[in-house]
């Protein structure tokens, strides 16, 4: 790495400095657009006591689900955690703390974290268990709750294509939480399918500027499909 060149050549280097008890913000929706190789590297490193913010927690044996196998996750901040038996078992036994967060609030908490906004008011969750203990303010006759931004020691994400400066393009619905997750981490690590030379991406077509990216690595991906639904011709 030198200058604006964000490219690292090994997954080990990509997650250098990740320590026990850190907070990680992760991109992905279900198994779509997840940083699958970075997750595998966290498993290999055996980092423990992690707090992870991600829309979902993977499924058994896939995605963030593999970090449950060695009890590496202490706390999960997510909107939906179904389809994962190991997750359920660890949640029920109290080994794993879970903070259920509405999906839009989670996305906005990440966005706020990356944009220097410490907190925001939203109607989402007012009058529900999510709103308990949170400040309520009335604006124009409607009640809103105060939600705080999320910050990560690391963020891990997946994009489709990048130039060496970390300018990113995402592909289809694999974009999801990835752009906000990247902005909310002190050290943001992004894995992509292809890295091109600087100047080869049209500046108008860049979805997230490289300023948010600290480390970039090219990988190969399994891209597991959770629900393969098809129609017949």
């Amino acid at each position: 790495m030198s200058g604006f060149d964000k490219v690292v050549t090994s997954y080990e280097e990509a997650l250098e400095g990740l320590e026990d008890n850190m907070t990680i913000i992760a991109g992905g929706f279900g198994l779509c657009g997840i940083p699958e190789n970075l997750i595998k590297e966290i498993k290999r490193r055996g980092t423990k006591g992690l707090t992870i913010a991600s829309n979902n927690a993977g499924v058994d044996g896939k995605g963030l689900g593999i970090l449950l196998e060695d009890q590496q996750i202490k706390k999960m901040i997510a909107s939906y955690v179904g389809e994962n038996a190991l997750f359920e078992a660890q949640m029920m036994s109290g080994e794993l703390e879970v903070e259920l967060t509405p999906q839009g609030t989670l996305a906005e908490k990440m966005r706020a974290g990356g944009a220097g906004i410490p907190a925001f008011f939203t109607a989402t969750g007012y009058g529900t268990p999510v709103g308990e203990g949170k400040e309520v303010r009335e604006f124009d006759g409607r009640n809103y709750i105060l939600e705080e931004a999320l910050y990560g020691d690391f963020s891990i994400a997946k994009a489709w294509k990048a130039d060496r400066y970390g300018n990113l393009m995402f592909r289809k619905t694999a974009r999801n939480f990835n752009p906000m997750a990247i902005t909310a981490g002190k050290i943001s690590v992004v894995e992509v399918e292809e890295i091109v030379e600087v100047g080869q991406l049209d500046p108008d077509e860049i979805h997230l500027p490289g300023i948010y990216v600290n480390r970039l690595i090219q990988g190969t991906f399994e891209k597991t499909i959770e629900q393969r639904t098809v129609r017949s011709a």
Partner: protein
């Protein structure tokens, strides 16, 4: 006769208007997409970041990078657009989606909805439902009117943890279409062959019965 799943979906589709952007929840709401009239344009929003969701793909079209909020593989219609989750919920929270349709466990006559959690049972999470009910103005809840044992799900007060407070104004059940206003359910339509008395018996919250309650037509 109580409505079938297909009839519920058909009745939901009657609420669509030409040019509507619509978010359909998992289950019966999603089925409503099959009944969009041919002469009408409706664009489906999927909260994982897609506006202009199409049908399921052909086998050879399957793309792991293109899924809906139920994690099913889908396609895009011409004119579709892709965006991040933050952008997706900005359009929901900002009231830009014309109609939201979703399921529930319970609704009460204060417009409260409980749809994501049954204490003591497996807790899976609310996903985008809390954002959708708080952000949309025009929401239809689809659900069965009562449990299999005959306990009403249209209550004076929800018993389960809430997904949203005071945000539901219209409920479609397998027996009836009802509006909610001023702390009361107002009966608007009946399922074919279902009497007003049967509906009243299975409605826990206060029910207003207008003089004329027509049968639904399909």
């Amino acid at each position: 006769m109580a409505l079938t799943r297909e009839q519920l979906a058909q009745r939901v589709a009657q609420e669509f208007k030409d040019g509507y952007y619509v978010n359909l929840g998992i289950g019966i709401p999603t089925l409503a997409a099959n009944y969009i009239p041919d002469d009408m344009q409706v664009m489906l929003q999927s909260e994982n970041g897609l506006l202009g969701m199409g049908a399921f793909p052909l086998d050879e079209e399957v793309d792991a990078d293109l899924i809906n909020a139920g994690k099913q593989t889908v396609t895009m219609v011409p004119g579709a657009s892709i965006f991040s989750s933050a952008e997706s919920f900005a359009m929901i929270r900002g009231g830009h989606v014309d109609l939201t349709v979703l399921g529930a466990f319970e609704v009460d006559c204060q417009g409260n909805i409980a749809s994501y959690m049954i204490p003591g049972k497996l807790i899976k999470g609310m996903g985008g439902a809390m954002d959708l009910v708080a952000g949309a103005d025009n929401i239809i809840v689809t659900m069965t009117h009562a449990s299999k044992s005959g306990a009403s799900k249209l209550l004076a007060e929800c018993t389960l943890p809430l997904t949203g407070k005071g945000c539901i104004k219209r409920v479609l059940t397998d027996l009836a279409l009802m509006d909610i206003a001023d702390g009361k359910f107002i009966l608007r339509e009946r399922a074919p062959g279902v009497t007003v008395e049967e509906i009243a018996k299975l409605t826990g919250g206060e029910l207003v019965i207008p003089d004329n309650v027509p049968e639904m037509t399909f």
